[in-house]
């Protein structure tokens, strides 16, 4: 019973609402008008700009801090595990920094 309701609700939702004019309706939308969509677009445009500004400030702060430096850890047995050779050789593809 419950699954039948869920199924019919899902089907209705996927068809974009049962009783909307099929020519102008769009699946998964509440059938908003063009003016409402334009207002929503303007709202999300502003949110995007706020996001871009916040990301730029954070990026500037983070990049101006410089790179962190780490000590070489002791050779614990679970570090740098090598059970067999890679097809391309003994080293990992991105392990150039290991050898300085």
């Amino acid at each position: 019973m419950a699954s039948a309701i869920v199924r019919s609700t899902l089907r209705t939702a996927l068809r974009g609402g049962a009783r909307v004019n099929p020519a102008s309706s769009r699946s998964f939308s509440a059938g908003a008008s063009v003016e409402e969509e334009a207002r929503e677009a303007a709202k999300w445009e502003k949110i995007t700009y706020v996001g871009i500004v916040a990301c730029s400030v954070l990026a500037f702060v983070n990049l101006s801090k410089g790179h962190p430096h780490f000590e070489e850890p002791p050779a614990y047995p679970y570090m740098h595990i090598r059970n067999k050779e890679f097809p391309w050789g003994p080293d990992g593809l991105f392990e150039v920094k290991e050898h300085h």
Partner: protein
């Protein structure tokens, strides 16, 4: 042909792409196994298989775009197929990534004695989650806002604004990938450094791979929007890209919390530190004396 059709279903033409894609997948699998076991010709077969798959993807999707845009086969009822299919695809992707994040949290919630009984394991230096990891969570979320802007712009019939919004979406995605690359370069552990390194790079790496796929998807949508393929009433491809993009940006919250934040060993310190452990330190001091 469309005039003579009395129903709204799309009866597809015979196509060579399913079998070419299957052969590509077979060559990729066999070539991949051969390559990993250092068989001769493994790398060649693997490369050929991948080229075959990429070629199939290109021509198959090209055909779908032609069927939809030029031939008008994607009626309302036909659009249901890709919608259902894409929702199921995203659900399977959520489960896939959940398994990877769960592998990390499983290892971190009860760290085994072999890695020192702590998380992150002894000797693993981690990056401060409040620096690049936090920024790299905010960037995909902003990009998600931009794709929502693009969606409403398409629905409002503002074609140019939608292109701008997609340019913003893609730009933020590229910045994310750049920062992720920088983080990978700076992060001290590698994928072979303990269960931490393995789960960290597997989970964040697959997430990053999905970001790259979503970026390509959004680029294609931007080009199609620019060419006028997407209309107010019919833009299934864009909707799929938007769903995918929201999946990618929401999923980023999970590694941020369960890997970066939970794995932050020194919440008080700015910048990562390496913990060499009191015993090792003592031993080093003794050997100096």
């Amino acid at each position: 042909m469309i005039e003579s059709q009395r129903h709204s279903y799309h009866l597809v033409d015979p196509s060579p792409w399913p079998i070419s894609g299957s052969l590509g997948a077979l060559a990729t699998t066999v070539g991949g196994v051969m390559y990993m076991h250092s068989f001769q010709g493994g790398a060649t077969l693997l490369s050929l298989g991948l080229i075959f798959i990429l070629y199939t993807m290109f021509v198959w999707w090209r055909d779908v775009l032609r069927e939809s845009t030029l031939e008008g086969h994607h009626t309302k009822v036909v659009q249901l197929g890709p919608r259902y299919g894409f929702i199921l695809f995203i659900v399977s992707e959520v489960m896939f990534l959940f398994a990877l994040f769960r592998a990390s949290s499983h290892s971190s919630l009860a760290p085994t004695v072999e890695i020192g009984g702590i998380w992150p394991p002894k000797g693993i230096a981690v990056l401060d989650p409040r620096e690049i990891p936090f920024l790299n969570t905010l960037i995909p979320l902003s990009s998600g806002a931009a794709v929502t802007w693009a969606h409403h712009a398409i629905l409002a019939g503002k074609e140019k604004r939608a292109v701008y919004a997609l340019v913003a979406t893609v730009s933020l995605a590229l910045v994310f990938t750049a920062f992720q690359g920088m983080e990978y370069y700076q992060a001290p552990p590698t994928i072979s450094d303990s269960i931490y390194g393995s789960t960290f790079f597997l989970a964040t790496g697959f997430h990053g791979f999905h970001v790259i796929i979503g970026t390509l998807f959004s680029i294609i949508c931007g080009i199609r929007q620019y060419l006028g393929h997407l209309t107010k009433e019919h833009h299934v491809g864009f909707e799929a890209a938007a769903w995918y993009w929201h999946f990618v940006d929401v999923v980023r919250l999970f590694p941020f919390v369960s890997i970066y934040w939970w794995g932050d060993r020194f919440p008080q310190s700015a910048g990562g530190l390496v913990d060499v452990g009191p015993q090792t330190k003592r031993r080093a001091d003794q050997s100096k004396e």
